[in-house]
């Protein structure tokens, strides 16, 4: 087995005759048997990257191999070793859960004697046995997503692409899906996960790449990314916005970075949390301002993202939003 499950070198992908650069010189090395996170807001190029690596789309330039096989030269060989679960649960809603898995098995050119027990096993594993013979139309969003993931796993692919697997799911369904992903990785599967949820990347991914406007703006472990920002976030909650504004001005110098003010909540990134907290409290108290809350917390990837890009991860990037969905001029050939 090659050292890297995915090796992508200097991938560029343009749309609309070069007007839009969805991916701009992206290089990735995805190690085997772990979750690799591709993090970024809508329109940052995550889905385009997954589509290139899963042989759906050709890169404009650059090279990529999946388990050592070139995506442009031998897409058919790659298709046998990958699973893809999309952003929009792409299962056939007129078929039952069991029929969907059987169909995917058969299109994967697997023997029926393998597909039938395998489908049962997956339906059971994903808690869908009771709904196996119901048409997908009757499924909830979480059930669809689990079936979508099950469909991607029918052929037991060593590499799984999960493109925003939990977008739009309720918290419980999301937790369930996370548990499934963790179990898969424990069994040796490599997962390339894209997400705009920093919590998700933090929880699942060992290594991360942060994309913004088609460029890599940071990479490393989530711990490394957080450390880049100082150690602690100080969160002060005031009684009203006027107090918050005044308080922020008073203690502005406790951090080298500007505060993040959101209504009555003021956040500072600081080096030494407790010392900064004591200092802030003293000065706010001396000015006769009352606090309604104070928290010291470890920085989240949200803080990292805000710091790196100047906008929040959940905000869509200002340009080239739906490019990947609408402009598909140059497709991969089989």
């Amino acid at each position: 087995m090659p050292e890297f499950a995915v090796e992508a070198l200097n991938i560029v992908r343009t749309f609309k005759d070069g007007e839009v650069r969805a991916l701009d010189d992206v290089t990735l090395h995805v190690p085997q048997s772990q979750v690799f996170g591709l993090l970024g807001p809508n329109g940052s190029g995550k889905t385009t990257m997954v589509r290139i690596l899963s042989t759906i789309l050709l890169p404009t330039s650059g090279t990529a191999t999946v388990n050592g096989v070139d995506v442009v030269k031998h897409p058919d060989r790659i298709r046998r070793s990958i699973g893809l679960a999309g952003q929009y649960a792409t299962v056939d809603e007129n078929l039952t859960g069991a029929e969907n898995l059987k169909m995917i098995g058969s299109l994967n050119h697997l023997e029926k004697s393998f597909v039938v027990p395998r489908s049962k096993e997956l339906l059971d594993q994903f808690g869908l046995t009771h709904a196996a013979n119901r048409t997908v139309k009757t499924y909830s969003g979480g059930m669809r997503r689990r079936l979508d993931l099950a469909a991607a796993l029918v052929a037991k692919p060593p590499l799984l692409f999960l493109d925003e697997p939990t977008t739009g799911l309720d918290p419980q369904s999301r937790q369930d899906l996370w548990a499934i992903i963790e179990e898969l990785v424990e069994e040796g599967t490599t997962v390339l996960l894209t997400t705009q949820y920093l919590e998700e990347a933090d929880r699942l991914a060992k290594q991360l790449v942060v994309l913004d406007h088609g460029k890599i703006i940071a990479e490393g472990t989530s711990q490394q990314l957080k450390t880049r920002l100082g150690n602690t976030v100080l969160v002060l909650t005031f009684l009203n916005t006027a107090d918050a504004k005044r308080g922020e001005e008073l203690i502005r110098d406790i951090s080298s970075q500007p505060a993040n003010v959101d209504g009555t909540v003021v956040e500072f990134t600081v080096d030494r949390g407790p010392v900064a907290a004591a200092d802030a409290l003293r000065r706010i108290d001396a000015a006769n301002i009352t606090l309604s809350g104070l928290t010291i917390r470890e920085p989240s990837l949200d803080d990292v993202f805000l710091n790196l890009t100047g906008h929040k991860a959940e905000d869509p990037a200002p340009s080239d939003d739906d490019v990947t969905a609408t402009s598909q001029s140059r497709k991969a050939s089989s």
Binding site: I56, R80, L84, N94, L95, H109, L110, Q125, T135, A332
Partner: protein
């Protein structure tokens, strides 16, 4: 949660042609299951043509006089051709839905034959047409349809219709892949279908139409197919219509097949 079993995936060893056929069958089966499960599509495919038969037989039929033949004998071959043409709209809608729901994208990442999506769709529509043909034939017999052309000619007429409809369905595959959504696919299909169906020899004789319409109505492919089918079923002279109908079919698939295929390569 149970653990995943250790069984390794078993891939069948078959030639690529056999795989292509197997993929087409898998896709066709899936489309047919959907047809049976969506009530509106079943109504569209089967109930609507029966309504047309009854409507023309009992409501409009009294007003339409065709010399030398009972109206029901004149009507049923035409209704069959009309139903198959209308069925092609389903090809457009089905493909548009698959495309815009992202299903085709999933298929693209599978090691399946690429053409199976298009071929599976047109084949399932062909199978549906065979079913509709049987149903209408039975309904026809129940309301005094009496073809005199003999069984071999009846079967030949059916094969001719099915061939023509199959070839034309590639054009609707193109519409389905070019439309931004399934509603638009349907909206584009009907203006194509209506003049071909109603300005034709399907329901009335072309000689009853105004002079300016006759050259089109006489020579357009649907009229030719209808003349051929009617002649074969009723045992009346077919003239050149059988060969003209076959020529239109071949022409349609030669032009529309590559058109749909290249569109498919672009969008999927």
């Amino acid at each position: 949660m149970t653990t995943i079993s250790t069984a390794r995936p078993v891939r069948s060893e078959r030639s690529s042609l056999r795989w292509t056929i197997s993929d087409v069958i898998t896709m066709a089966k899936r489309n047919l299951l959907a047809l049976v499960r969506i009530p509106t599509s079943l109504v569209f495919a089967v109930i609507q043509p029966i309504m047309f038969v009854l409507l023309f037989r009992y409501v409009f039929g009294g007003e339409i006089k065709i010399p030398g033949v009972s109206f029901v004998n004149y009507l049923i071959p035409g209704i069959l051709v009309q139903t198959m043409l209308f069925g092609a709209v389903g090809t457009a809608i089905g493909l548009a839905e698959d495309l815009h729901r992202g299903l085709i994208e999933r298929f693209r990442a599978l090691p399946m034959a690429r053409m199976a999506v298009l071929a599976g769709r047109t084949v399932s529509d062909l199978v549906r047409n065979v079913g509709v043909l049987l149903v209408i034939t039975v309904v026809g017999f129940a309301i005094d349809f009496r073809p005199h052309g003999g069984v071999p000619d009846y079967i030949a007429a059916c094969l001719l219709m099915l061939t023509f409809a199959y070839c034309v369905s590639w054009g609707f595959a193109f519409i389905g892949l070019a439309a931004p959504n399934s509603e638009t696919a349907q909206a584009i299909s009907f203006p194509v279908i209506f003049p071909l169906t109603f300005a034709s020899a399907i329901f009335v004789q072309v000689s009853s139409m105004p002079g300016w319409l006759r050259p089109f109505a006489n020579n357009q492919p649907v009229s030719q197919v209808t003349e051929a089918v009617r002649g074969l079923m009723l045992g009346t002279p077919t003239g050149s219509s059988v060969w003209v109908a076959l020529a239109w079919s071949v022409g349609a698939i030669v032009v529309l097949g590559p058109l749909a295929t290249s569109r498919y390569r672009k969008v999927a």
